[in-house]
């Protein structure tokens, strides 16, 4: 193995998901409402609607909701969790961990790791890569990786249509206890400034068309292709594929470029009805797939984080899935639980009106 060659990541002991859980807040802002306010209703809409958190919701409360669902499916004692890791770009505090709030609420403290992760939209899958190592090395029996966001979109910006809220939590543990086993993973990272938010800024900025080819497509397709090569698999071997989904077009085009069919993409493609949930985006696509998966199904998960990089994971579903699926609300239950709001209510809920 040459030092610079891509290498499959696989832990010393096989690791899998023993529980998973999703969370999507109740409120929905139709994209047509954003268009009504900002473009007099003209222009194509990138999605149907996006999920909006309530006044008393943030990444901490939403992470707790998703993690409780994951715990319910895993049916383990929370004091056995050795790491609570939350990936997000909307942590409520700049300094002070979200993860300690979540760990405390779950009853995982005090004999645990806790940390917040930041890598734009792949902060959650980055935490998952680390959790595979943590469990696979034997340092921990169980670790919790969460991707959750209440994404920020500047009023009137193209991203305001899609910047949504939601995410997912995954409990990782030994393969023998798993509902889905990791068959290998791979990460591809470069310094590519396509989207960023500087210290003390309220809203992120982006490089418009630069976010496409040199950022999203290069990283997503490279990570996916290399993982397929390294695991000696091909697109047709997978029942489901999930990509990071900033809009409907990008993941569909990435799928086409890699030889996946609409059928393989459809189940995990949620952006049209909840928006881009940033660090939660690819991960909540995975919970939607796990809700419907059957033993033996193979799943490919490819995240993307601006800045930029992609984590790719190959999973195989086990017999344990069947009894754990119904132990908590399903992703589509949350999607169906919806109250439509107008732009004015959205502006209030998201603190868009600055009065001082």
């Amino acid at each position: 193995m040459q030092p610079n060659e891509p290498q499959l990541m696989r832990p010393a002991h096989d690791v899998g998901l023993i529980g998973y859980g999703a969370y999507v807040p109740r409120f929905r802002l139709p994209a047509s409402e954003v268009a009504r306010v900002w473009t007099e209703g003209t222009g194509a809409l990138p999605i149907k609607e996006k999920a909006v958190p309530g006044l008393d919701e943030d990444v901490a409360t939403m992470s707790v909701e998703a993690a409780r669902n994951a715990l319910a499916r895993a049916a383990i004692d929370p004091t056995e969790i050795r790491a609570v890791w939350v990936g997000s770009e909307s942590h409520p505090y700049a300094v002070k961990p979200t993860s300690t709030i979540v760990a405390e609420a779950l009853g995982a403290v005090p004999n645990t790791q806790a940390a917040d992760w930041q890598f734009a939209c792949k902060a959650g899958t980055e935490a998952m890569q680390a959790a595979i190592g943590f469990v696979g090395s034997g340092m921990a029996h169980y670790a919790l990786a969460i991707g959750m966001d209440t994404a920020q979109g500047r009023p009137g910006d193209a991203l305001e249509y899609t910047a949504g809220a939601g995410g997912a939590a995954f409990l990782l543990g030994p393969a023998a206890e798993a509902l889905a086993v990791f068959e290998g993973s791979y990460s591809f990272v470069t310094d590519t400034p396509d989207f960023w938010r500087r210290q003390h800024e309220t809203y992120p900025e982006h490089g418009q068309r630069f976010t496409g080819e040199p950022a999203y497509f290069r990283h997503v397709t490279t990570a996916a292709k290399r993982l397929l090569e390294l695991t000696n698999t091909k697109a047709a071997d997978y029942r489901y594929v999930i990509f990071h989904q900033p809009n409907l077009k990008f993941p569909q085009r990435a799928g086409k470029l890699l030889g996946f069919t609409d059928e393989q993409i459809r189940t995990g493609l949620l952006v049209g009805v909840i928006g881009n949930t940033y660090a939660g985006s690819a991960m909540i696509g995975l919970t939607a797939v796990l809700d419907e998966a059957k033993p033996g199904d193979k799943i490919l998960l490819v995240s993307f984080g601006s800045g930029a990089g992609s984590d790719a994971f190959a999973l195989r579903v086990t017999d344990a899935i069947t009894e754990r699926q119904p132990r908590a609300p399903k992703t589509r239950d949350y999607i169906a639980r919806r109250s439509v709001i107008d732009y004015a209510t959205y502006a209030r809920l998201r603190g868009k009106l600055v009065m001082e």
């Binding site: 003209t42 222009g43 194509a44 490089g207 418009q208 068309r209 630069f210 080819e213 040199p214």
Partner: protein
């Protein structure tokens, strides 16, 4: 020349260098086993200061191209910068001051995106009277197109032929930004950029560089005429906004110097930054009467028509790399006259004309080239 497109990973100087190397490797300009050594470099560029925080391109590109020490300077005339740079090279060689000059047109549009690019391109208009009011180049084109449609009783679909022709020609040009065919139905469905200018009425900005070598030595193609004219920057200062006066003057002067008329021209690389510019340019250069330019599209402007235009896709489909565009046009005319245009060849091309415009036609540079032998 380089392909026109979004060269995210290639800097302005690297683009320029690639074009210079390509021109030097052109076997028709070899002097024995060597590339000719130019004594002067004229750079056509419009926005490097605004978009790349880099002026002083003459010395920069001369050094980067291994020509340190030669005379070099930038020539700027907005979208006509490339043609204006060639004219300076022709004057330098024609006067006997130098025997060989290099022309490089280069533009790096993707160092900034969105509003930053729009603000930069708007500097080609009258800043005090147009730019300060928030008018963009597309906004000015929309005013012209609206007036043209009103005076001539036209609908949007009457302009479709220009874009359809440009895309048809770009399909076989590997350097074109959009190598896809455009159906008239897709044109009709396109979203508005600045009504009535739709997405297919406006040329895409792109990165690109092209280079020419001008020499007093005999060559397969000679420059028969070079002429520049100007008009007011602000549209409202013109007595007749729909007469591209600078375009007419520079074309007339060029015809005079070449001792030919529009009827002799085999192909015309015009400045189709917007569909209405193509119609107005055809009229100004004498290929159609006032208000009739639109009638030439698509049949008469196709490669087999009376006056082929945008034979490699034009600005619309090859792409519009700002100050480099005028140099691309000349390189494309040279390929046509050498009979080296491959699937894009205009049969029997003898006289080729190129015209580039700065702003909404405030500068016009026209060149007429002739196939020799």
């Amino acid at each position: 020349m380089t392909a026109v497109g979004e060269h995210w990973e290639t800097s302005l100087r690297e683009l320029a260098l690639r074009a210079v190397l390509a021109a030097q490797q052109d076997e028709q300009v070899q002097v024995g086993p060597f590339a000719p050594r130019p004594e002067a470099l004229f750079v056509g560029n419009m926005l490097a200061g605004e978009l790349s925080s880099q002026e002083h391109l003459g010395a920069l590109i001369a050094d980067y191209a291994g020509l340190r020490g030669i005379e070099a300077a930038t020539v700027e005339a907005a979208g006509a910068s490339g043609g204006a740079a060639l004219r300076q090279a022709l004057l330098a060689v024609g006067s006997g001051a130098v025997d060989c000059a290099l022309v490089v047109g280069v533009e790096k549009m993707t160092d900034k995106v969105g509003a930053g690019v729009t603000a930069a391109t708007a500097t080609a208009a009258d800043s005090d009277w147009e730019g300060a009011q928030g008018v963009t180049p597309t906004g000015l084109a929309a005013l012209l197109m609206r007036r043209y449609m009103h005076e001539n009783g036209l609908e949007l679909k009457d302009f479709a032929g220009f874009s359809v022709n440009a895309h048809a020609n770009a399909r076989t040009n590997p350097n074109a930004m959009f190598q896809n065919a455009l159906a008239p139905e897709a044109y009709a469905r396109a979203g508005m950029v600045a009504e009535p200018v739709n997405m297919f009425d406006t040329a895409p900005d792109g990165d690109g560089a092209a280079a020419l070598i001008v020499t007093s030595e005999p060559a397969a193609v000679r420059v028969a005429a070079s002429a520049t004219a100007t008009d007011t920057l602000a549209l409202h200062d013109r007595g007749d906004a729909l007469a591209f006066e600078a375009a007419r003057l520079s074309a007339e002067r060029a015809y005079q110097r070449a001792a030919i008329g529009p009827e002799d021209v085999s192909l015309f690389e015009l400045f189709d930054a917007f569909s209405v510019f193509a119609a107005l340019s055809l009229e100004a250069a004498g290929f159609a009467a006032r208000g009739q330019g639109w009638r030439l599209a698509p049949a008469e402007i196709s490669r087999t028509g009376r006056i082929p235009i945008s034979t490699f896709g034009g600005l619309k489909a090859r792409g519009n790399p700002g100050g480099a565009t005028g140099v691309y046009q000349i390189a494309e005319v040279v390929m046509q006259l050498r009979g080296a245009a491959g699937p894009n060849q205009v049969a029997g091309a003898h006289w080729g004309m190129a015209q580039c415009l700065g702003g909404a036609g405030a500068t016009a540079v026209t060149h007429i080239l002739e196939r020799v032998g």
